[in-house]
């Protein structure tokens, strides 16, 4: 049994180790190790396309995770006091958002937005009387952020709601009995208690958005995110540079994960 568990770990980590190993290869070939070198890291970090894609990915991930955390938390709190058909409808939306494959969300968003833009753009142009070029809507960072926020919002609602339902109502009731306004109760009682869940939701959303390839592939227009850059590089032929980028991304995710764990633990301790 121990041997079995060990071999599963080997299965899980061999591919990761291979990418990390080949990223240090000195040669041009991505599948043969030709001496140790860190040159590909330097090349990746000096490649303007890589840095541009990285910047886009971080920006999209940060904005959509922030929006999703705020809107998702508000919705989770509001849903607590709502019953009946509205509640059922909202639950159905969350369920659909999570269950529909990312690829379907990608194509649906693409064709819906392109269709809407085709209608709105001539209309915008007519309203624009200045000499300068009229504004026109197109697929890009905005549509990508909107699509990622939609999906991650659903994740935040699920996570925060799980935490809310595990809280006891007694604290909020006590607060209300002591004449705290609902907002004061929320800020001083509920919010600190659900903060770890909100943070977890934020991090999950950030990671999802940062790693997402398929929705971005359809919705990002001419913009490039890091997964899109890596995918198109692989299509052109894998170089040690791609391995170096992959290794850096994995290390960065790992560090983020560890930091998140530390914050979550520290946030949990004094209250238990």
């Amino acid at each position: 049994m121990r041997l079995y568990a060990f071999s599963v770990y080997v299965f899980l980590y061999t591919p990761i180790a291979i990418i990390a190993l080949f990223s240090f290869s000195a040669g041009r070939s991505a599948s043969q190790f030709e001496g140790f070198s860190v040159q590909w890291y330097g090349r990746a970090l000096n490649n303007p396309f890589v840095m541009d894609a990285l910047g886009n990915s971080l920006l999209v991930a940060f904005i959509s995770a922030t929006l999703a955390s705020v809107l998702g938390t508000l919705a989770a709190v509001g849903l607590q006091g709502i019953r009946g058909p509205v509640r059922a409808f909202f639950d159905a939306l969350i369920y659909i958002a999570v269950m529909i494959p990312g690829i379907v969300i990608g194509i649906a968003t693409l064709i819906a937005l392109v269709t809407v833009f085709d209608v709105v753009n001539p209309w915008l142009a007519r309203m624009w009387s200045n000499e300068s070029a009229p504004p026109s809507l197109s697929m890009g960072m905005g549509s990508l952020i909107a699509a990622h926020t939609m999906f991650t919002l659903a994740l935040v609602v699920i996570i925060v709601r799980a935490r809310l339902s595990s809280l006891e109502g007694a604290l909020s009731e006590a607060s209300a009995d002591l004449y705290a306004t609902p907002f004061a109760t929320f800020r001083q009682i509920t919010l600190p208690l659900i903060a770890p869940a909100i943070l977890a939701g934020f991090l999950l959303s950030f990671t999802f958005s940062f790693d997402d390839f398929i929705i971005a592939f359809f919705v990002a227009g001419s913009e490039t995110t890091l997964p899109i850059y890596i995918f198109s590089s692989i299509r052109r032929g894998i170089t040690p540079e791609v391995n170096a980028i992959g290794t850096m991304v994995m290390v960065a995710s790992l560090v983020l994960l560890i930091i998140a764990q530390l914050i979550l633990r520290r946030g949990d301790r004094p209250r238990r």
Partner: protein
């Protein structure tokens, strides 16, 4: 402001976002699936079932998905269960958390990067070259259904281990001792106690993995090399290459329909299993 109005106000922004970015786009896909392709690509309004009638043209994609997604789920379950069991039941508390985190960490890193690593391993200079040194020649692994199967099992294994681990961890270990004290063979204990008690974890894990596999694009794209493709790959082709939005929408609707039916049937089966367990005499 009444409490009711306040709650409505709180859910309004999220609700509006979901309506605009989820309900509207999905409705567009539904409407477009009855339309026609414009000569230059895109969509022309129409009301025809032609796109649905044409679905058999993409039969291979549906067939591959419907074989490899359940098979991949089953393989992941068979590999994940013993590991989850080992971690939850047989590992000391000191090592438990660390070993579980080690299973989950890969899942937090990009699936794109983890999948393309298999291009090295299964490609000509990887495993086939290794097999050649022991005398097994001309083995082709990359761009085969086997490669895609390895890729999907590898990619989604952590997602299968975690829920099973949670359900086994919750299992009261005294039940296992009681079963042994009453003279049950370890195998009997496993099938009569452990397995039934972890059915909810198995159900959750299988459902998560299956849903994600049905919409998979990346792994077949990287490891199937155009020879082994899923519905997801057909969708990318239809929307980005041939720009046939109407037909692509019909394929997407069909995919959703298949998922809805299988997941519903599956949930019904699971709840039936749970009912049976509750009805059964305790030991």
């Amino acid at each position: 402001m009444t409490q009711r109005a306040r709650n409505w106000l709180l859910i309004a922004p999220a609700g509006a976002w979901l309506l605009v970015m989820l309900v509207v786009p999905l409705s567009v896909v539904f409407v477009f699936s009855f339309g026609e392709r414009a000569p230059s690509g895109g969509y022309v309004p129409a009301f025809t079932f032609e796109q649905y009638a044409n679905l058999p043209a993409r039969f291979t994609a549906f067939q591959n998905t419907l074989i490899l997604a359940p098979l991949g789920t089953l393989m992941a379950l068979l590999i994940a269960y013993p590991l989850a069991y080992q971690l939850a039941v047989r590992t000391s508390d000191k090592w438990k958390t660390l070993l579980l985190v080690l299973v989950i960490v890969p899942f937090w890193t990009s699936i794109l990067i983890r999948s393309y690593a298999w291009i090295f391993i299964l490609g000509g200079r990887g495993l086939p070259a290794l097999l050649e040194t022991v005398g097994i020649e001309d083995v082709r692994l990359i761009y085969t259904p086997f490669a895609v199967l390895v890729g999907i099992v590898y990619g989604y294994l952590p997602l299968m281990v975690f829920p099973i681990y949670v359900s086994l961890e919750r299992l009261d270990k005294r039940l296992l001792e009681a079963s042994a004290d009453l003279g049950a063979h370890p195998v009997t204990t496993f099938f009569r106690v452990t397995l039934p008690m972890s059915i909810s974890g198995i159900a959750t894990g299988c459902m998560l993995v299956f849903i994600l596999l049905m919409g998979e694009f990346l792994i077949p794209a990287l490891l199937g090399g155009g020879k082994v493709f899923f519905v997801g790959n057909a969708l990318v082709d239809l929307f980005l290459q041939s720009r046939n939005w109407a037909y692509g929408s019909a394929v997407a609707m069909m995919l959703i329909a298949i998922m809805l039916v299988t997941v519903t049937l599956y949930m019904r089966l699971i709840s039936k299993l749970n009912v049976q367990r509750d009805d059964a005499p305790l030991m």
